[in-house]
Symmetry: C2
Subunit: 202 residues, 2 copies
DNA sequence: TCCGCCATTGTGGATATCCACAGGCGTGGC
DNA sequence: GCCACGCCTGTGGATATCCACAATGGCGGA
C-alpha cells in the first residue's frame, strides 16, 4: 500500500478536474494545485507520491518547477503532459530524470498505468532513502578520529598499520574499532563494508 | 585518446557523406554503413565508439537495430536522428538507454558536441567493462566449494561458523579462504567485499 | 568548579586469522 | 595404470582481533 498521492499541477481547472476524476475512477488519490507556485509554497522534501505537470503554465512553467524540485532534492517521479511535440525538450527532460512524458490526447488507461508505475517507483525510492538516512545518521555519530580509523579499516589495513599511519598505539586503534562497530551496528569489517556498499549516501 | 569511432548508419548516401564530412571537419573518425543489416552483419560486442542512427530506414529501422543491439549486450551509446517529431517514441527510446535524440535540422556544432560526449561515455563504459571482466574471470576461477565459502565470508561469518554450516573442519575453511584470497588477488575479507562492491557483474 | 565526553594508553586473556607444511581419498582424463 | 586436481583433515606456531576492565589528560559546557 503506497502512502503517496498524485499531485496534479495545472493552471487549467477543467484539466485538473478531469484528471482527478480519471484517477478517482482508478481508485488513485490525488491533490490538485492551480499553479507551480502554490505547490512549491507547500512543498517539502518528505512529500510522497508523484507529480503530473502540464509543461506549459502561466507563471512558473512545468519545466521551471521541475528544475526547482531537482535543486531541492525532490525524488518524487514527475510525469509531464504536453500538447506540443517537442522532441529535444522531452529528451533533455527525461535525461535529467523526469519519469515520463505524455502527449495529449492520451487514453485513461495509459495515464493510470504510468501513474501506478510512478507511485511504485516512489515507494521504492522511499525505502532506499529511509535506509540511507539510517546509515547516514550512524555515520554522523562517529567522531573525527573514528572516521579516520574507519577509512583505513575499509581500505583493508591491519590495526598495526593504522596505528603507525596515525601515530597512535595499536590499543587505541582497537578501542576506536570497537566503538565504530558498535555505532554502525556491525560485527566485523566485512559487514561494515557491505553496509556502506549497499548504501547511496550524500 | 579514444579508440572509438562513429558508426553512421543511414540508407541515404547523401546523409552519410554529409555526416562523415562534418565529423571529419571536427577531427572525428567515422565509418558509414548503408543499412542496419550491413552493420549488424559486422557487429561484435567488442566494438568501440558510438552510433548515429537514422530512425527511419528501409528494411530494418533504426529502432529495430537498437533493440537488436540491446539484446546483444551492446554498450555503445546511440544517437538517433529524426525528422519527425514523435515525443512518445523518443521518450520511450531514451528510457531504454538511447544516448540522445537529434531532430533535423541541427547545427554542426550541436552534433559534434553530442558525439564527443557519446565517445567519452563509451570510453568510460569500456574501462568499467574491462575491470568487470577481470573480476569476473577471477570469480570463474573459483571452485564450487570456494564459492560457497566466499559467500559466507562476505556475509560476515567467522570460519568456525562456516565450518559448522558446511559440515567441514575449520582447517578446511582456512585452506579455502587462503585460496580464495589468492585467486581474487586480495589480502582480506574487507578487500574482497570492496572489490566486488565496486564491480557490476553479470 | 565540576562533569561528561573524547582520545589515548595499558593489562590480561580468549578467539580468530594467517602461514607453512604434510598427507589421504575420490574422480576424471590420458 | 598413472597423474593431476579438488576436497578434505591435521600439526605447529605466529599474528591479528576482540572483549573486559582500568586509568589519565584535555576540553567544553553547565
Amino acid at each position: 500500500m503506497s502512502t503517496g498521492i498524485v499531485h496534479l499541477i495545472d493552471d487549467d481547472e477543467a484539466i485538473r478536474d478531469a484528471l482527478a476524476w480519471l484517477l478517482r475512477s482508478h481508485r488513485i488519490e490525488s491533490r490538485a494545485w492551480d499553479s507551480a507556485e502554490s505547490f512549491l509554497a507547500d512543498y517539502h522534501v518528505d512529500m510522497r507520491g508523484c507529480l503530473i505537470l502540464d509543461i506549459r503554465m502561466s507563471g512558473m512553467t512545468g519545466l521551471e518547477l521541475f528544475e526547482q524540485l531537482l535543486d531541492r532534492g525532490c525524488a518524487m517521479p514527475v510525469i509531464f503532459l504536453t500538447g506540443h511535440a517537442d522532441v529535444p525538450l522531452a529528451v533533455r527532460t527525461v535525461k535529467k530524470g523526469a519519469f515520463d512524458f505524455l502527449e495529449k490526447p492520451f487514453s485513461d488507461g495509459e495515464l493510470a498505468e504510468r501513474v501506478v508505475a510512478a507511485l511504485g517507483l516512489d515507494e521504492q525510492n522511499h525505502r532506499l532513502a529511509t535506509s540511507n538516512a539510517s546509515i547516514d545518521a550512524r555515520l554522523q555519530s562517529l567522531t573525527m578520529r573514528e572516521k579516520e580509523v574507519m577509512k583505513r579499516i575499509l581500505g583493508g589495513q591491519y590495526n598495526k598499520v593504522i596505528a603507525a599511519d596515525l601515530q597512535i598505539a595499536m590499543r587505541t586503534v582497537e578501542v576506536h574499532r570497537a566503538r565504530i562497530f558498535e555505532k554502525m551496528n556491525v560485527r566485523s569489517a566485512v559487514e561494515l563494508a557491505q553496509l556502506l556498499a549497499g548504501a547511496q549516501l550524500d
